[in-house]
Symmetry: D2
Subunit: 474 residues, 4 copies
């Protein structure tokens, strides 16, 4: 409905563009290796010590100034080059997911049983973003450009909410636009939003007893959790169907012959709207309380994390779309194609894009569409104009958060998508640095969408980043 | 351990006894017909209008004085003959069970689908008891005996608690001993107790909504009930194993496409001890409350009925044992035996008495043994010395509350057991009327067992007999 | 995207239109009374004997030829006037919903506890449709128009699938276009579809036993149903979010002290796509089977009904939109407005249209939108070009299938919406009768949308209309 | 009912007895220290490397011959002294329980969060038994007694079934009688049996998927486990009430935003009769299968362990009773009494023995009574005459498998009970070594009770001891 016009002349053109892209092609191998190294580290949220150090070293070597331990988080940092306005932020992530360890193989084959793996491709995300930042810096230096390029090393995107604590520390205050990307099974961008979420550990405390000789003396914390789970299942019918609720049981008793005096579930709720989510969440708390009430146990709730829904930004997304379209998708070698074909036999393909779609750019996502996941990029998007795109780093159709995704993000397939992404980020950053009208449009669009809603993270103000949120309960 | 001696001379002996028994044999056919008529009526609790009328008429004809509508209950009455002390009560019941309608056939074959049936044999119970009362009266008249024989027409034993309301009306105040029997799959008596129970309807009130177009606007009363049920299942592990908990769903929604704004479950808890049961019951209420809490519905609890555990009485039970032993069990004809054999193929026989056991009297049940059901005879047993025995009216092994039991209680097998029971009741009543020492022993045993516990029915004092408790919820 | 043009000249214009509308205004009171009479009857599906008779009589009186007992259903009929092509069908319904009995009052106040009520406004639907048919006939007669107008008296829309059996009987074979309306809380039409559905009774057969004395001998059919219900709840997360699943428990045991040997649930699944629904349904059957497996009971499934998703028709819907827009919405009196205001306090108003919206026509619903209910109008829509619109008969925001809807459909508010609907139907029927191009467009749109999919009702071919589907299980 | 007479003269008398007991009093401190050391080690089943080594060293030092790594189990051993018949076995255990770590304090205060603790007192059990064996050896040596005394170091009693694998290795083949004890909250012995048990891990395998963006592609292994758990809860009502069923969830998903492709529960069933248990177990397997069926996941069952019910032995138990009675109970210091009093405030005391009961010996347990736990001592009891007694090592009323028990078994209270136990074992072993008639009676009683039942462990014959059964699933 709305209409955005940029003079084509303002976009990065001609020889400069070619130089930038050629230089990136030349360094693709080096950054490919870095992404693979982080894939091997496979460090979970807030534990990405080696991964963050590797990227920091690379940025430092390239002349960036490092601000370390942002918000007292050992693996959160910024790396800045240049000075003055505009300030363009490129966001990077590098945390892995528990239990998704996998060899680079098209059948389930963990490298180490139960170990983490990069099933969401953040090894590519962070490396590709740093690659872009360094490439932009070189371009800026060469062209003596005004402004600041800043890489954000943002830990624990997967449930840890690193960006929320970084935002509270004020590191986004001077930013004019924030851009980033995400690994995906296709190439595209648009006005899609994401799901706001709140998640918490429900801990039930009961009374232990010998389960065979005196079960009547025990009060089972596991019973409470089972009941709360059932209540949450019943709740699914009575919330808007865009809601997402899911949970796991992180502790379900110590030994079968002891009535469990402790049990813990980890519950998530998501919705495209934070006010709607508040209502759903209140009811999930009631489900937990009901579990405790019925079983004479006690409920303790630790709110682990909460992120907002993404506020899209049309001018920024249009820049991405333009650069994506200009560069086109990725091309598989025959071996890569064979790998993708074999892999695609391991998941359902209904409604999925066909093989070959990795070579194309998807149509611009219309207003109101949703990626059904959540991201702490969203919290940034309520503070400054922000946009992201996705690039094909997994074989078409591959579900996120799967061993198949881990396999792809360690393989050459993934690195091809990363190179495309780094180029799009770099070109777009340069576009933003050189086109003040574009930033103005982005700001106007941001203000219009934000409206009167006052951003307030549902993470309690006094909460520190949960550096150990991935540890097993004791 | 304790030891009771009665001079054999005080028991009904010789010619008198023979006369009484012969007269009863002569009238067996007539009372058999009455029991069959009540079997055909198959009226559920508090609806036993025709059944009660039939017995009342018979007793009136025999010269008994009727006190009708005891405790404002249309089907509760007493029938008294004689005067002065001692007062011997014979208790009778005549209510049927829902949905146990069955032809007199050894395979499942309802007379009318969904209709009630005498799966607990109360058609025999009430008729046999009245038969005994009338026979005692004739014996007393003939022998010009002192004292009072009184038949109690007690409705709604199956969950309606008729005797509780009758007790509140004071009709047991002048009684010296209460005796009764129960149909069973063997012959015997002893010191067994029964389970105290509390039962109630849990009614959940939610908010209706179209289940397809706006399920999120609805608050499901059925969800609440499903959750409360699950909570109750989880509770089973954490109560003493002599506890019994069971329930049905009497209303689970009106139409599938409407989120149910009403649901009702009917819950029972039982225990050999009323104080223990109080604790279990409190936790069942919490299960119900938890269902409401989790689903944002409202719980309303109607306590329908509650009976005590039976306080056994050793002197009275010894009188039964002596008379049972003297009379022996029942003898099947070849046809009856074939019927029983076929019927026994329809239920599991593990641990059950063999065919032929109906001819024998079981050993005296020791202290601490339990019939795992409940009965409002128990409430009488905490007020006056009370005892009961059982007689083989179902084929050996037949479970109570089954269509198989309905089949037997309408058949000649059942009537044979009833004749035995009527004789034992009559002989024992005469023993009690003629032996003051026996009544003194019974009273002493009663006081010792009751101890300091003060009988207080858990049925709320202001509650009227729930005359419509068998009706479907609206 | 597609584009439809009609010469404005072809639509009913000028004086003729005014005559038709004036005549309808004059008869509004009479048909209002009929709708109120059917509201009082409140007969559930396939039991609408008095309601159908009333409409039939009215149509017969107006000169329509009646075809009675279509598909051997006592309350299904057609009423035809005129002859030859084109044949325009107007569909009417008149079944009530269980347990939604309600006085015309803005607070919950059943006329009769547990009785049915017109919580979906079919009293207005059928009456308004018949009113339109009669008005069209008069207009045709007066103007000596060519063609046939036919009213379809279609019973048991609410879960009974009357139109499916009527379709099998061939009564739609000669129809050129089918039009109808539905009571609603606003005025509008468009390209929305509906949910295909399959629904069935899951009957579990177990083994009865005394729940206190031998629960171990019983196999609980209720346990099986509770477990199947839980399984279905767990399934909700793992189906597309446009799926709808809901159920009630129609039988949950006979008496609490008997282990239930029979239990019955009534399960619905819905989806915008029949092939997707097939997959969901298969999994619901597994949920039922799992209940039986775990509890050693037996599952019996009776498929009660299944309807398709609506195939929208753009040319027909545009005719409605044009006539709706020309007529405008409904106007409340101050008293009606006060009633609506009070009523609106009894349900949540988030996201609902405001009071006053009843005066307006809603924007044309775009492709892909959904009414989240189901209707057997859908089965007709896969056979002939079909369209429907909705008119404001309930106060804005009122949920369907609620007591609030019952209150409105018996009140003057409801009759105002019905008059609007009858007029739109009549005007549109006349448009179709007089404009062959319009019918051609409708046919072309129908064929394009239907594509290669072959309509096949999931109701088993040998199944007769379930005339007693609303009866309680025995 | 049966009656056993031994000439008092055959029991250990007079001076010899005094010598033995005095020597034991002198060494009580040393063995107290050993028990405390094993309490500190707190090693779980099959991991008792340091605990076993400590006892082995002590026995070796005392001159016992060690047979190490029995049945290829690193922590299973026998220690033998003497030769020829009779062979008297004293059984010892030393494994701790997960998560019961606790300071010696009367309030909950883990030494290390989540660490194991001796909540079943096996530190005392094994040490006391070894103390007894060494004392018997000294007595035998001094008195040049004929026969063999053998200590059995039996690992993993708590669910690992060490004795089953040791029995399969043949180490009980030459034994005439096996004796042992168990820590308890009172002193006593008798004819009680225990519960046979079968336990297994139910592992569900599903399909992972992103829980927010494609939950419909996932098949949740956790859903399967939740459903199986509910099914098991429903089963509780329909098994004999002496059955015990309990379980924990050992793995309930990896991350909340991934549909769990793996979940694991650890299920136990117990019954006083192995054939009854077989039936219950079969139904639990169906519960697991139902979970898999409903959720389209796959079930894998690993039978972890199974032990028999204890076959009591009256002659052996009577020897214990006689020696217990002669020695009397234990005496608390004022400090110990205060500790016990404070501790008793942390658990319910209904039906528990009062403080002071630790000084008394309980009445001989009659036939048919049950300890409601299980033990692999039972498997030995079906192979050779076996008996055990319990001694007050926990404050009266303390539940087993509780932190309170851990506190006591590390404290002086526990060591007092251990000294009593060691003395009773030693005196009884000497009685058995010197009284051939006693062994004959024991053998006769054993044969009579065993009857025709052929012992066959339900542990699969090809299964090795599950040395890692306490490890977390991967």
């Amino acid at each position: 409905m709305r209409f955005w016009i940029w003079a084509a002349a303002t976009m990065l053109q001609g020889a400069d563009r070619a130089t930038l892209l050629t230089r990136m092609d030349n360094r693709a191998g080096q950054f490919g290796e870095i992404s693979r190294q982080i894939w091997e580290y496979a460090e979970v949220g807030y534990k990405e010590h080696k991964s963050a150090a590797l990227l920091k070293a690379e940025l430092q070597k390239a002349g960036f100034r490092i601000q370390d331990r942002v918000a007292d988080i050992p693996t959160a940092f910024t790396a800045t080059w240049g000075q003055g306005k505009p300030v363009i932020a490129i966001l990077g992530e590098y945390d892995a997911l528990p239990e998704l360890s996998q060899e680079i193989a098209p059948q389930r084959q963990p490298k180490a049983n139960g170990a983490p793996g990069h099933g969401c491709g953040h090894n590519l995300l962070g490396t590709g973003a740093a690659f872009a930042a360094i490439s932009v810096k070189e371009h800026m230096a060469e062209n003596r450009m005004q402004g600041t390029i800043r890489f954000y090393g943002t830990p624990a995107e997967e449930g840890g909410g690193g960006k929320i604590y970084m935002a509270r520390a004020g590191v986004f205050n001077d930013v004019d636009a924030a851009i980033t990307w995400h690994p995906g099974n296709a190439n595209g961008t648009g006005l899609e939003s994401s799901l706001a979420n709140i998640n918490a550990k429900f801990r039930f405390h009961g009374r232990a007893s010998h389960a065979a000789s005196s079960p009547q003396s025990g009060r089972s914390a596991l019973d409470a959790l089972l009941l709360a789970s059932h209540a949450v299942e019943l709740l699914r019918e009575h919330v808007p169907s865009s809601t997402r609720i899911h949970y796991i049981i992180t502790k379900g008793g110590a030994a079968p012959n002891v009535v469990p005096d402790f049990a813990e579930g980890y519950f998530y709720a998501r919705s495209p709207s934070m006010p709607t989510l508040d209502g759903v969440w209140e009811r999930m708390l009631k489900c937990g309380q009901a579990g405790a009430l019925a079983t004479e146990t006690r409920l303790e709730v630790e709110l682990v994390n909460s992120v907002y829904n993404v506020l899209p930004n049309e001018p920024l997304a249009k820049v991405f779309q333009s650069n994506l379209t200009a560069l086109g998708g990725v091309k598989y070698t025959p071996e890569e194609r064979a790998f993708a074909e074999t892999l695609r036999k391991t998941f359902p393909l209904d409604g999925q894009l066909p093989l070959g779609s990795e070579e194309r750019i998807q149509p611009f996502q219309r207003e109101g569409s949703l990626i059904s996941g959540s991201t702490d990029v969203a919290d940034v998007s309520w503070l400054v104009p922000t946009a992201q795109f996705y690039a094909a780093t997994y074989a078409p159709g591959t579900p996120g958060h799967s061993w198949q995704a881990t396999a792809c993000t360690g393989a050459s397939i993934g690195r091809k998508g990363m190179l495309l992404a780094a180029k799009v980020l770099a070109l777009s950053a340069v576009d933003l640095l050189t086109n003040p009208e574009l930033l103005k449009s982005a700001q106007a669009d941001f203000e219009r969408r934000r409206g009167t809603h006052v951003y307030r993270s549902r993470v309690p103000p006094d909460r520190k980043a949960p550096l150990n949120y991935r540890d097993a309960p004791q």
